[in-house]
């Protein structure tokens, strides 16, 4: 037993000492971990940081050899006092006495461990055992360059490495991998999870691809073409591949179908499936579907639909076909709802159409049938996948309802859809789509089977004179269409069926822009008639509705290779190839897209045509369209297209649909993650800006708070002084609607009755408890789609300055409008209204910007200085900043303890120390009191906003709370009505904007 004077626990015999500059906890940890990486377990380094000294030693001790620690603890009392250090705390840890034998033993063990670590580097290569000045170039490759004593070890090591490498390396060379068959296999493997469109490879070379909704989709071009795409939409032609939209086919008698689908939609929100124009197959209809009998509470999403027109021969046939086109995000919700509505069983029953197809193919040689079966089913087959690649074999594709006899067929990826936008789409279409040549000698060719053993459906079709006449008429109409200057010059949603030639046969040699040919002026009278009367219903007939024909057309497609071989054998190179009866005839449908229809400006902007054709023909049509000088857009261009049109886009702008809610959650998570990746100084502190939810719009809280506010105070202020016409028309509307509902079917009556009732009674007692109030209690936000009310609101939002005299004259009628306001308040308490905002002067609102009510001073000041006035929000205090600072400090101090308790639990640490997960700049918990958080009352949020190339300034689309809107309108003077303030999430500047409700 002797005293050690010069012993410091921290100083090991190896002389290794850790004196880091402790600036951050993390750095310290890291450095420590680095030091300890290759050390044996009993080697320890004390922390010499005086602040964290004690805890540091303790924590290190925990990692040291337990025997050693016990020993030291046991001898703790024997340590002597020292007067060397002034730090008394430090000295307390120093043992007073030391057992020399034990001490020497442990040191010896440590020295051994150290020597072991130095001589046997566990993760080092043989080369590193040589000192640097002995190392030579290429020693790792050539063993003979090594000193002889090391060669044996090196040989072993190298073998080991070579062995490892062989296992890891790819078995095939790049050349082999790029061979056609292998490439196909690889492609097929890659599209098992996400469906590839037929144009995928083309897009993947030129576009940023994203995986969305189970598809691989082109997001935006890799080149710079944002403005060029806009110009194409406005002046030329933009092409989009919309094949990812899902098509569901419903088969059944018309009455049954209408009866089943009636509860899914409401007449209040516009025309439904039963609309006369759509029912004849002449027009494509669009509507928002709801869960059965749930209107206006639970929408599913927007769809477009198309009825198959009745053929001339079977004009009284009962069976009808209906296509419902829906966004893929909506498909599953829609399918389950349709199953419920049609009472379909989940297990598939082989229905007539598929059997027909099988029997048809069996007539062939049989080889084709095998191939056909492989398509889309056997992924391993070296066969190009056409259609839905992700569908499992066992998964049903069609469902039959036993009670109603309705058959639902999932036609996902069976029919492709390309969208052409812009005035030049007519000329591009006219050049690409050439009506199929009619077979002259039907009798002869009728017997001939195709090269692949399939009958030519076209020759059979040509046998009927009335079909032939129809085909000619359709061709004529296509010619006439090119006489129109823009697709907007024909009525909305017109449908034209066609049968066209193989588009690959008339591709020009060079890519040229298809321009309207002014020289061969069309018959102007006929063009005028076309634009006035639209396309007749029988011209919408097309064979694409027939599944058999679709299958034949897909299968009899001549492959690119064969076509090129035939082309190369032509006597005159470059001359058009004439295939005669071998040539494929493709049935297609053209559907007009109306473009911007609501509002006053830019009517018909973004109008165009959709081309629908059977699968397998995607690239053929794509390339021939590209060669007509159209520009191609991705998803981003689709967003801009709908934004400039002012229409809500699915799923972004449907916060009341299940798909929309999912989408909002996903985007919020993404944006928060992105925000957190920035250093705190390089990101906006949203709390300072008074923005509670910068990455989403709290619709739920907004409507609930407005409801509470209106209940507490009532929205009675100054009543809106309305134009007399509006009031009268409102009265008329109610009256006529009532008459209308009387004629409706009984279940429709039940739906709309309570509200009608209330509308009438509202004059006497405006606040009748409504069944919808009870429904609204469930805590769901809905969007107002009642066209009548929207029209009324739209009229209220307009300023009345020009008709100020009239409003004064009929002040008696003001009373009535109060009732109208009250009635809408009581019947639609938790509803949002889709609005379009145009800044008066400056400003470019972005997504999640706040829409606020201007205060009275704002309006006064704006009147005095209309050019420059824009109020500012005072900077908010950040109550969490201090907390975060404290937390940070505590964390720093608490770090070594944590190391002792849990090795690396960041989460555990934060959860133990503070209840909230604080992030600098973000509001930590669920927002409370969203409407009065800022100096102006919030009524809504912007859901998409940007600089609009169409208007030439900022433009925003968003939702406002119905109650908030009415509150604002009722308190604003007539000439200032509809003025709101918009503020971006990362800005204190309010901008004045005018609200527009476009119906």
């Amino acid at each position: 037993m002797f005293k050690i004077f010069d012993f410091n626990f921290g100083k090991e015999p190896g002389g290794i000492e850790l004196r880091p500059a402790m600036s951050g906890i993390n750095r310290k940890e890291k450095k420590y971990a680095k030091k300890m990486r290759n050390q044996p377990s009993n080697v320890i380094f004390p922390s010499s940081d005086p602040g964290a000294g004690k805890s540091g030693i303790e924590s290190i001790e925990s990692q040291s050899d337990s025997d050693c620690r016990n020993q030291q603890n046991g001898s703790h009392g024997a340590y002597c006092h020292q007067s060397q250090g002034s730090d008394r705390k430090h000295l307390e840890n120093v043992p007073r006495f030391l057992n020399a034998k034990d001490f020497a033993q442990y040191r010896a063990a440590e020295i051994n461990a150290m020597l072991k670590a130095v001589t046997h580097k566990s993760n080092s290569q043989f080369l590193q055992s040589l000192p640097p000045h002995f190392r030579r170039r290429a020693m790792s490759k050539n063993v003979k360059r090594l000193p002889r004593r090391l060669r044996e070890i090196a040989n072993k090591e190298m073998e080991k490495i070579a062995h490892l490498k062989k296992e890891q390396s790819k078995s095939k060379s790049r050349k082999a991998r790029r061979r056609h068959g292998n490439l196909l296999l690889e492609f097929n493997r890659r599209q098992r999870k996400n469906i590839w469109l037929e144009t995928h490879i083309w897009h993947a070379k030129r576009y940023h691809m994203v995986k969305k909704w189970g598809y691989c989709l082109a997001n935006k071009p890799t080149g710079k073409s944002y403005r060029a795409c806009y110009r194409a939409m406005t002046q030329q032609c933009l092409l989009q591949d919309l094949s990812f939209y899902c098509c569901l086919e419903l088969n059944g008698t018309q009455d049954n179908l209408l009866k089943v689908l009636a509860p899914l939609s409401s007449r209040e929100a516009g025309t439904t499936f039963a609309s006369v124009d759509c029912l004849s197959g002449k027009r494509q209809g669009s509507l928002v579907l709801y869960k059965a009998e749930q209107y206006p509470e639970k929408p599913l999403g927007p769809i477009t639909f198309l009825w198959r027109p009745r053929a001339v021969s079977e004009i009284h046939a009962e069976n009808r076909q209906l296509w419902i086109w829906a966004h893929p995000a909506l498909k599953m919700d829609l399918l389950t709802e349709l199953h419920l509505a049609c009472q379909c069983s989940d297990d598939p029953i082989p229905e007539a159409a598929q059997i027909d197809c099988r029997t048809l193919t069996q007539r062939g040689t049989g080889l084709k049938r095998k191939l056909e079966d492989k398509v889309g089913e056997e992924v391993i087959a070296k066969k190009k996948i056409i259609g839905n690649s992700t569908r499992a074999e066992s998964k049903p594709e069609s469902w039959v309802s036993l009670t109603t006899g309705i058959v639902i067929i999932d036609l996902t990826m069976e029919i492709l859809r390309y969208r052409l936008i812009g005035p030049l789409s007519h000329s591009a279409m006219l050049e690409v789509l050439q009506p199929a040549t009619v077979m002259e000698n039907c009798e002869v060719t009728g017997e001939v089977m195709g090269a692949r053993g399939l009958p030519f459906w076209w020759s059979q079709y040509c046998k009927k004179p009335e079909d032939l006449a129809l085909h000619n008429r359709q061709g004529n109409f296509l010619q006439l269409l090119s006489g129109l200057a823009s697709p907007a010059e024909i009525s909305a949603g017109s449908v034209l069926g066609l049968t066209v030639r193989d588009p690959r046969l008339n591709i020009p040699e060079n890519r040229t822009r298809a321009l309207p040919d002014a020289s061969q002026l069309k018959d102007l009278e006929k063009v005028k008639e076309l634009s006035l009367k639209g396309l007749p219903a029988e011209c919408a007939q097309s064979q694409i509705w027939d599944q058999n024909v679709r299958n034949i057309v897909t299968e009899t497609k001549i492959s690119e290779q064969e076509l090129n071989q035939m082309k190369s054998k032509l006597l005159v190179p470059g001359s058009p190839l004439n295939l005669g009866p071998q040539e494929s005839k493709i049935p297609i449908l053209l559907v007009q897209q109306p473009g911007k229809m609501s509002g006053k400006e830019h009517i018909g902007w973004g109008s165009g045509w959709d081309i629908l054709f059977p699968k397998g023909w995607g690239m053929a049509f794509w390339i021939s369209l590209i060669y007509r000088g159209v520009r191609v857009g991705g998803l981003q261009e689709g967003v801009k297209h709908s934004q400039y049109q002012g229409i809500p886009r699915f799923p972004d702008d449907f916060p009341d649909c299940p798909a929309g809610i999912r989408h909002i959650e996903e985007t919020e998570k993404e944006l928060i993650d992105k925000y957190k990746r920035y250093p705190p100084a390089k990101r906006p502190n949203y709390i300072h800006y008074g923005t509670m939810t910068p990455f989403r719009c709290p619709w739920q809280q907004l409507v609930e708070e407005w409801e509470g506010k209106s209940k507490a105070h009532g929205l009675s202020g100054k009543e809106p002084e309305l134009k007399p016409e509006v009031q009268i028309s409102t009265k008329n509307l109610v009256g006529v609607h009532e008459r209308e509902t009387c004629m409706q079917s009984p279940e429709e009556d039940k739906l709309s009755d309570p509200e009608e009732q209330m509308e009438e009674d509202s004059v006497v007692q405006p606040k009748i408890p409504n069944p919808k109030d009870i429904l609204a209690e469930s805590g769901h936000v809905s969007i107002l789609r009642n066209r009548r009310l929207l029209k009324q609101l739209s009229a209220w939002c307009r300023p009345t300055s020009s008709r100020g005299q009239q409003t004064k004259q009929c002040s008696q009628s003001v009373q009535m409008t109060t009732d109208a306001v009250d009635s809408s308040i009581s019947s639609y308490p938790r509803f949002l209204v889709w609005v379009r905002l145009l800044p008066l002067k400056k400003g470019c609102p972005i997504a999640n910007a706040t829409i606020c009510i201007p205060s009275e001073e704002d309006l006064q000041l704006q009147a005095s200085d209309p050019k420059n006035y824009a109020p500012q929000e005072p900077k908010h205090r950040d109550p969490f900043k201090h907390q975060i600072k404290i937390l940070k400090g505590r964390k720093k101090r608490a770090l070594p303890e944590d190391q002792k308790s849990s090795s690396g639990g960041q989460d555990a640490k934060s959860s133990a120390n503070c209840p909230k997960n604080l992030t600098l700049g973000l509001w930590p918990d669920q927002p409370q009191d969203v409407i009065s958080h800022c100096s102006r009352l919030t009524i809504g949020y912007v859901s998409q906003g940007d600089f609009s190339l169409n208007v030439g300034r900022g433009e925003a689309l968003g939702f406002v709370s119905l109650l908030g809107l009415l509150h604002m309108l009722s308190n604003q003077p007539g000439d200032k009505r509809g003025l709101v303030l918009v503020r971006n999430p990362a800005s204190l500047q309010y901008r004045l904007a005018r609200i527009n409700i476009e119906v």
Binding site: T271, D277, R283, S486, S491, A492, G534, K600, W605, N732
Partner: protein, 154 residues
Amino acid sequence: MADRATVAPQLGSQPALEGAADMDPVEYTLRKRLPRKLPRRKNDVYVNMKTDFRAQLGRCQKMLESGGFREICIHGLGLAINRAINIALQLQAAGFGALQLAANTSTVELVDDLEPELEEGESATRTRNNSAIHIRVFLVLPQGEKAEAVNPCN
């Protein structure tokens, strides 16, 4: 929409249609189509009510002075007729007698869509007429040579 100037000038100019009384606003929604667009030459100017008057005047002046056109055609439809005349007269006044005007009037047929609000209704279209003016502004040659008497603006 080939150009801002071709945006229909009649929009918003007429709050009510002729014969709107026979259309029930409950059964139908009225949607006005844009007027038919015709092939446009470089020296055609379509006047509208949205663009600033001075900007439109300046454009015409530039075309005549430095644009190298000996003549330009100013078109106005509906409410914009007044403005078209105004522009033409201002041009002439500023031209020190070098410019002459030749005005033609015409009627433009416009199409309205009637969109059914109810299931039973069938969509229909209606035509109505609106007046238009086409003013040819041309430089008079100093030799006294007369420009062609035929007005191409039709």
